[in-house]
């Protein structure tokens, strides 16, 4: 859908996924790294060999891009960067505002030199304001954005997701801002700045929580495996499942179906079978009553595996789901049936890895992984050649450490 859009991707890890999204949508994305490779080519590594070419995070998050190296802080590098920018529609980076300016990539200068260029910059707090120069990656962004305080057990410190959700939220948001700017450019020919704040992207995870708190006086609290007063995450024989012990028209039939199943298995106490579910609302129950319900459901779940519980939940329309690990996701029947995973050959590395193929299905597979992530400088000759840089000049630049 973004065919013919040329993107120059100078991001570090906070923006890898944003560039990948544009590439998977069909844009021609050029990933520029410092000579020697991006410092965010981190472990773990393919085959457990500590080599930046084998960084699995890199391979996962930079598909559908071509790769070049350039020392943009050097004079010769700056000259080449200008030539690259002349043929670029979108510059995507994650430089802190002051660093962007120091590299000659401040918005005012870029806009004057390349009036049609779109500059999308992902920063912790946005391009301006009292915290604009504050540093932070995922942890600081989820802390300042309000999600961290509410995640985790009440008797322990707040806790984050082990993979960077701040970047997960900001990446499609940045891509959306870029496509909106492309609309404007189609209409006017003018570029603009897309100023993405990791912190502001985080606030949407509260789903209007600030408005709810302001209007109702209800301040949410960290509740771990619970939502409100009832359990949401339950132990089973081999892991954990999500199952809401909550009332409401959409949820009560699933509680009834669960109790029916337990009854068939001889696992429902008489009082549970005799419960009148029509008006069931755990918020109106005493803590001891809630505990009795939780013990009844919980002791049943503990006798079954995640898979057994999920299969039966599907058959009986019970709102229960397994807390999948990576292997279980890869084997998930629905995802397999939809061919959500695609095997991508890594010819340079002699490997073939499975990737999620797409975030959006169309009948012509318009959104898909188009090529494996590039090796360090893999497309230098091709890209610089197209700029008119001959082999001899490229060799000189390589010698000088510019590429």
């Amino acid at each position: 859908m973004l065919d013919a859009v040329r993107v120059l991707d100078l991001t570090g890890e906070p923006g890898f996924l944003a560039g990948k999204i544009l590439g998977d949508l069909g844009a021609d994305v050029l990933k520029l790294e410092p000579p020697g490779g991006d410092p965010d080519r981190r472990g773990p590594f393919l085959g457990d060999v500590a080599d930046p070419e084998r960084s699995l995070a890199w391979l996962a998050l930079n598909t559908s891009k071509r790769g070049i190296t350039l020392d943009i802080a050097s004079e010769a590098g700056r000259g080449l960067l200008e030539r690259l920018l002349a043929g670029t529609d979108v510059l995507l980076d994650s430089f802190p505002p002051d660093r962007g300016d120091a590299l000659g990539l401040g918005w005012e200068r870029l806009h004057a030199a390349f009036p049609g260029l779109i500059l999308a910059r992902i920063t912790p707090f946005g391009a301006d304001g009292p915290h604009a120069t504050y540093r932070g990656r995922d942890l600081v962004a989820v802390a300042m954005g309000g999600n961290l305080a509410l995640t985790g057990d009440p008797d322990r410190p707040p806790v984050r997701c082990s993979l960077p959700t701040a970047y997960h939220h900001a990446a499609p948001e940045a891509a959306l801002g870029i496509v909106m700017a492309l609309h404007h450019r189609e209409a006017t020919g003018r570029g603009q700045r897309v100023d993405v704040s990791l912190q502001e992207c985080q606030l949407q995870t509260l789903l209007g929580g600030v408005a709810v708190a302001a209007a109702s006086g209800r301040k949410p609290r960290r509740a771990g495996a619970r939502i409100g007063s009832t359990r949401e995450i339950w132990a089973c024989k081999d892991g954990w499942v999500s199952f809401g012990l909550r009332g409401g028209a959409a949820r009560i039939p699933n509680l009834v179906a669960t109790v029916e199943w337990m009854t068939e298995c001889g696992a429902a106490p008489v009082w549970l079978r005799d419960t009148d579910w029509r008006e069931f609302d755990p918020r109106r129950l005493a803590p001891a009553e809630v505990a009795a319900f939780e013990e009844a459901f919980g002791s049943f779940f503990r006798t079954r595996t995640m898979r057994e519980l999920y299969e039966e939940a599907l058959a009986r329309r019970i709102l229960l789901a397994p807390c999948n690990d990576a292997r279980e996701i890869l084997e998930h029947r629905q995802l397999r049936a939809r061919e959500h995973f695609v095997r991508v050959e890594q010819p340079r590395l002699g490997a073939c890895l499975e990737h999620p193929d797409s975030f959006a299905r169309t009948e012509d597979r318009a959104v898909r992984v188009r090529r494996p992530a590039p090796g360090i400088g893999e497309h230098n000759a091709e890209v610089y050649g197209a700029l008119g840089v001959g082999e001899a000049e490229l060799a000189r630049l390589r010698e000088a450490g510019v590429v």
């Binding site: 600081v140 404007h184 209007g208 789901a321 975030f359």
Partner: protein, 402 residues
Amino acid sequence: MPLFEDTKILELGAGAAGPLATRYFAEHGARVIRIESARRPDFLRALFRAPAEAGGLDASPMFVALNADKQSVRLDLSRPEARALARRLVDWADVVLENFAPGVMARWQLDWETLREARPDLVMVSGCLFGQTGPQRGYPGFGGQGSAIAGFNHLTGWPDREAHGPYGTITDSLSPRYVALAIAAALLERRRTGRGRFVDVSQIECGVYSLSEMIVRESAGAESPTRCGNRDPVAAPHGVFPVRGEDRWVAIAVFDDRQWEALVVAMGSPEWARAPHLAALAERRSHQDELEARLAAWTRGQDGPELMRRLQAAGVEAGLVQDVEDLERDPQLAHRGHFVRAPHPHLGEVPLERCGFRLSACPGEVRRPGPDLGADDEAVLGGILGLSAEEIDGLREAGVVA
């Protein structure tokens, strides 16, 4: 002129994930009309609010926050007359977004297969939990299930405790961004080719796609990520530390030895921090229990905001773990105009929110809280479809506009 001033979006669905997607366009000038019904109201309209309370279905703060700047028309789509009117609104629209269970739109003859011939230029996006195809497409889940299936729960929490996932059912806040992106990209393509298209977005697949690193690592047979508190494989210290007040914390992340040196100096170079076994990152990573305990002893009792400012000034990544009240007072968010305080007849002033990015040439704006149910019956049925006041009254009495 706002960027999407000429763009018309019809929205059918409920909850958070669908409606959040169109908010980006409302913020940038599009006219977004929700088809709703009092016969089967959006459950969001009843959240945090009993229908019997003043304002009833019009006064859920969550609904009005997530549906800012949209319009609402009532149509009971179980009625054929209502479906015929909805079909006419499709002809008016550039974009149809729906997030019902798969099959519902087909039952109403409002699905892509039915519409594509008459409206080849229509952009239509469906955004349900599991997608439109596959054996489990009818699975009736909520965001809580989506987060668990996609892997976020496995990745969030403490190794010795439940796999509980980030607060707020992450697929509900993550997938709308992808739905909005699909709409924007399809509209851009239509601008160039004149053709519309249908896009099938699965909330769970958006989550799995975001976690590509987890999938690729597993597929490579490498160490698979799992929940590990706040620690990070390439940083130490990396965690949250107590400060003055009840349940108050500051996040501190040190990714290299230069940042560690800055932190040590900021702490006044205590003897423990100068110990040789803490000087290098790899060494600090293998002494994290000690490191975290020492650092917590130093932060405890300090003023959180002041500590954050001091560490940031020293070049250390640090941030207050902000609660919802902190967010409302956050000077950075205030500077960015993130919250727009708008009056609501039943809720007083509601802090509505901007999205996560700003466009310099077409900044957009957030103006009004989400609409009362049926607030725009006349504007939509009369103004767009040309029905007379008598006809609209008749449809109301007949229970079609209900």
